[in-house]
Amino acid sequence: MMNLSAVAAMTLLGLSLGLLLGYAARFFKVETNPIVEEIELLLPGTQCGQCGYPGCAAAAVAIANGDAPVTACPPGGRDLAKELAAKLNLVIDLSGVVEKAPTLARVNEQLCIGCARCPKVCPTDAIIGASKQLHAVIRDACTGCGQCVAICPTESLQLYPIETTLRTWQWPKPLIAH
């Protein structure tokens, strides 16, 4: 008998507290600006920090509030700036935006000492290699954010521009003015 009433009391307590919490969550909900979320989805998401903010989420807030320009994200380049401007209904002058040529990190085998620091900082898990082993970058997963370059103690990791091959070559834009 004792047992049963104890169970009932606890259940009741649990239920009412749960309900209370649920309502509280609704009631005190902090309004996140939906545009911030949308902007965050547009950003590359590598948390590379090249914009000067601690990550893409912080950058998204700054861009949405107008604290950072839509051109703040260097890896996103011109295309991203355009998309962001469209989202925020801004008219922007893109002539100043320099398109950064896409790069990839590469390990210089002669310099790598197998310190295993770079795999820890790579936001996309693009570097493989255990400690005391030669490390290597998986091309398809590397975004060229440069986090590994900053941490590499021997300057073995460097960013290199991606070479154009027959598979990636495209016709250039006609240059002649008219």
């Binding site: 898990d125 997963a141 834009k173 002649i176």
Partner: protein, 495 residues
């Protein structure tokens, strides 16, 4: 047969009389051949020979990789000198992995290829497609899509009509014309074999009315064939475009972004039919092709049967060299061909012509502002509005251009050809298609990146969790140990 017209198109001076009445000559085997491992649409071939190895004519040098790909064979016997990057016969001038073969001068066949097939029509249709695939046959009109893939798809999708494209609407080019004049029986045999391979009911050979000799020859050869018909179509550029040929013959439109197979039609070039005949009857892989060497800068313009991999300089030499220094060199015709500036690049499977023009033949002028005359709109065979699309692309508003139907553009160049302001319209469209493709790739990549980041996050979280658990476990173990030690000690004390 009643013909249907398509809207637009242009009638450029065809310059075909330079070569149309001269017989195909045979190029002696050159000293060195350069065989790019990708001469087709799809994945590059992978070499199966090593440097220093001797090979025989027709031997496999590189096998196809993946579903859409084509192998490469040795056009003569000799030694493999090198396998490495060389300048590609491509407008970019970028390097491509290439097999260099030095001829030993004996031109000796591999024994495996000698047995002939008496009756290909008893072969399984699938088997024919397979053999066409292993012979490395690709679309000879210049599209270079692996033919076997098209055959297999057509068999699966059940097509009713095979159209053999003898349109050859590009100015200067006459290689298909000469092939039809000189080897009509072989082409007809190839058509029979393809009909069997795709189990289609009938074949239509479409020839433009500016090739009277070819029409006579093909008609005479096909007169006794109930299922094969020669149809004369008007000379109108781009008649040779698959979509426009189907429209003209059947009055049916291929859906945007679709294939001929969607409406039960398969289109192959006459050169492809000829290559199929040689492969199925005689086991000869695709190791040579007919190339039109023409233009007012060439001393003896003519059609030449060239081993694949021959440097352009050898072919031009064979035609008496240059009469005058050309102002422009083209691989393919002047409407859709690519400008080249290097004579060391080789003839590949898709090289239908080498055209060398003097400055007199060129009407190149600097572009002027658009006068909105609408000629580009009238000439576009795909019903597009080139001036609007180009204006958007100039301002990099690629999405707007895409909305106006950029994907439907077949890059025929009619708009550029007819523009009195000399605006490089088709060049804008080529650029925009590439840029849009790149954009799509980037988008795909950033989606993948996002996934990778999520995966990493969850991995890190799991590791953290595991660490915590391990720590807890260790602590519990330690406690248990302590307890047991303590109880032991207690026991000792009590005892």
């Amino acid at each position: 047969m009643k013909l249907f017209r398509f809207h637009g198109g242009v009638h450029p001076n065809d310059h075909k009389r330079l070569t149309a009445s001269k017989p195909i000559s045979l190029l002696p085997i050159p000293q060195r051949l350069y065989l790019p491992l990708q001469q087709h649409i799809g994945a590059p071939a992978e070499p199966v020979v090593n440097i220093g190895e001797t090979v025989l004519k027709g031997q496999l040098l590189a096998h196809s990789q993946g579903h859409i790909s084509a192998p490469v064979h040795a056009p003569t016997s000799g030694t493999i000198l090198d396998i490495g990057p060389l300048t590609a016969p491509h407008p970019s001038g970028l390097p491509i992995r290439t097999v260099t073969l030095e001829s030993d001068g004996t031109d000796q066949w591999t024994p495996a290829l000698e047995e002939a097939i008496r009756d290909p029509l008893i072969l399984d249709p699938e088997e024919i497609s397979n053999r066409v695939g292993t012979a490395g046959i690709v679309g000879m009109g210049g599209a270079t899509f692996p033919s076997a893939v098209k055959l297999k798809l057509s068999l699966k999708r059940k097509i009713h009509t095979l159209i053999i494209n003898g349109g050859e609407c590009e100015p200067y080019l006459t290689c298909d014309d000469r092939l039809m004049q000189e080897r009509p029986a072989q082409i007809a045999d190839g058509i029979r074999i393809i009909l069997h391979a795709v189990q289609a009911e009938r074949a239509i050979i479409a020839i433009e009315n500016n090739k009277p000799a070819a029409i006579v020859a093909m008609k005479a050869t096909c007169a006794h064939l109930a299922d094969t018909q020669v149809i004369v179509v008007p000379a109108q550029y781009p008649m040779g475009s698959e979509k426009h040929l189907i429209q003209t013959l059947l009055g049916q439109e291929v859906p945007a972004g679709g294939l001929g197979a969607d409406i039960g039609v398969l289109v192959h070039n006459v050169g492809t039919a000829y290559a199929v005949h040689r492969t199925i009857r005689y086991h000869i892989p695709l190791i040579s092709r007919i190339v039109t060497v023409s233009g007012d800068a060439i001393r003896n313009p003519q059609n030449v049967e060239v081993p694949i991999g021959t440097p352009l300089s050898d072919v031009i030499q064979h035609c008496g060299g240059f009469k005058t220094t050309p102002a422009r060199l083209l691989m393919g015709g002047p409407m859709m061909g690519n400008m080249i500036n290097n004579l060391n690049i080789p003839v590949v499977k898709g090289t239908s012509g080498i055209v060398a023009l003097t400055s007199q033949a060129l009407t190149q002028q600097l572009p002027k502002p658009c006068i909105r005359c609408g000629r580009c709109v009238d000439s576009c065979p795909c019903g597009l509005v080139p001036l609007e699309m180009a204006a958007h692309i100039r301002k990099d508003n690629l999405e707007k251009a895409a909305e106006l139907g950029l994907v439907d553009c077949v890059a025929c160049g009619c708009c550029s050809y007819s523009c009195p302001a000399h605006i490089p319209l088709v060049q804008y469209f080529n650029y925009a298609k590439g840029a849009l493709f790149n954009r799509q790739q980037t988008k795909h990549r950033s989606e993948e990146t996002r996934k990778l980041i999520e995966q990493r996050k969850s991995r890190l979280a799991k590791e953290e969790e595991a660490k915590k658990l391990a720590a807890l476990k260790r602590k519990a173990e330690k406690d248990a140990q302590k307890k047991s030690l303590k109880s032991q000690a207690d026991e000792e004390v009590t005892s």
